[in-house]
Point group: D2
Chain length 151, copies 4
């Protein structure tokens, strides 16, 4: 698996806790930031209408391993890899690169859902979305990169 | 493994996202809330002086599986189990019980560290702390419970 | 103006920042916590159906003055006062009491809105809600208090 | 007062709440983001050593007026103006520009402090810092702008 997409993101003051490092819950927010930027880079959104269905991606599981502290004003390169595209689910991994070393490794699996009011119903990933996700899975190409704003 | 400690915690408006459910990153904050309440219930703190050492518990890994949505104003019972007490590390699991069903299952492993300024050095868990954590591991007793404020 | 309602809320690790104190943005979340608990104490919710209308309360303004640091594991008493009930708007103040001293003073004004899909339309506060809010404004009675969980 | 500095920042999923708009507490985090980017643009940091003193800027007050909803994936231009440079305090305002209209107006006052361990002591703003802040106050020049990452 090679990197499909990456953004650079600076650590904000509000990301830190009294230990002086990024609070572990914020790594999960950052995984989502690069995931959503990746979707935008393909002309998609994680919250979009598709064939008259409102499609969303609630999480089935999320995990992160931490190998080093990340501090205020550090620049983190968030490198996303597509790990698996199932019938209804999508899995990706994120390397958190700081000063050339991996500070953390995250994994998220989401399930494609039709959202109607407050109700969620899992559905097969629509073909047009699947095609885009799968391309980065099966034919690793040189990674694209985006700045956090202009994905 | 039986529940060692539990608290009840109401979902706040700021815990939710535009999908109308608790944002997945906030499950990790809630795991930490019950962990810290558990430490307080034993007369400990996760950020404390112990024999002239400032002891803290940075995370090595954190994971959560989500089995159902949790909504604004839901009451969640957070049930903590001690999963493992290693020489330097401590692992626990949390059941997120909502309306009598488990909405999520979290797992966290932390490592005991001496904190000196910004530097972290892993250390063996001090005996007095180990003894308390181990008691809930090896001799499951009827769970104690606390309210989020008065642990 | 006397206190209409109060809750006690412990400072969580994730509320703090690298300066070792509660991040200033979290005071606004805490104002909202006591506001919503106050609504629940009157049998209301800030997000509720009322006469077939979905009523919500987006904010018009929010402000806070900080007079002292608040630290991890501090217990804060959040004391809410109803400051003004207008035709469409509701204003309240919150004292943040820590160790018997006021650490901060917050003020929020919200406007009553009918929410239909993503559209917001300001409306006169429904009479049944107005009556409850106004009672605490015009006839200060001994404050009620709740624990954060059992409002 | 003219804009001294601006960044563009995209609204993240985790910034939103169940009303489908940015949670009001997150406007305060965004004010801080542009403030800190502004400091970096001058070669400063809000958490830095200066003449052997650790200098920080705890908040005295923060306020925000909201004039319109801000939604997921909106691009916000955060435009900072230096409002006042006192002996010990620094005040700034932030316009939140979305789709060419001001969605919110924020104001923050911070006080310059020497930080020693957990203790805070207000101090006169060091001359080298004052000079940079004052320049944007007294001689409004064409605004500089930065991307959120490369301030």
């Amino acid at each position: 698996m090679s990197t499909a997409f990456s953004i650079v993101r600076r650590v904000q003051f509000s990301d830190t806790d009294l230990a002086g490092i990024v609070h572990f819950s914020n790594f999960f927010k950052m995984m989502e930031e690069v995931e959503h930027a990746y979707f935008r880079s393909m002309g998609l959104s994680v919250s979009m209408q598709h064939d008259d269905i409102h499609v969303g991606w609630p999480r089935v599981s999320a995990a992160c391993e931490f190998s080093g502290p990340v501090k205020f004003e550090d620049e983190i390169e968030l490198c996303l890899r597509v790990a698996r595209v199932g019938d209804k689910s999508f899995s990706y991994e994120v390397d958190f690169m700081v000063h050339g070393k991996r500070a953390a490794l995250g994994k998220v699996t989401s399930v494609c859902c039709a959202i109607d009011g407050g109700a969620l119903q899992s559905i097969s990933i629509p073909a047009a979305i699947r095609e885009k996700l799968t391309k980065d899975l099966t034919a690793p190409s040189p990674p694209r990169s985006g700045r956090a704003q202009d994905e």
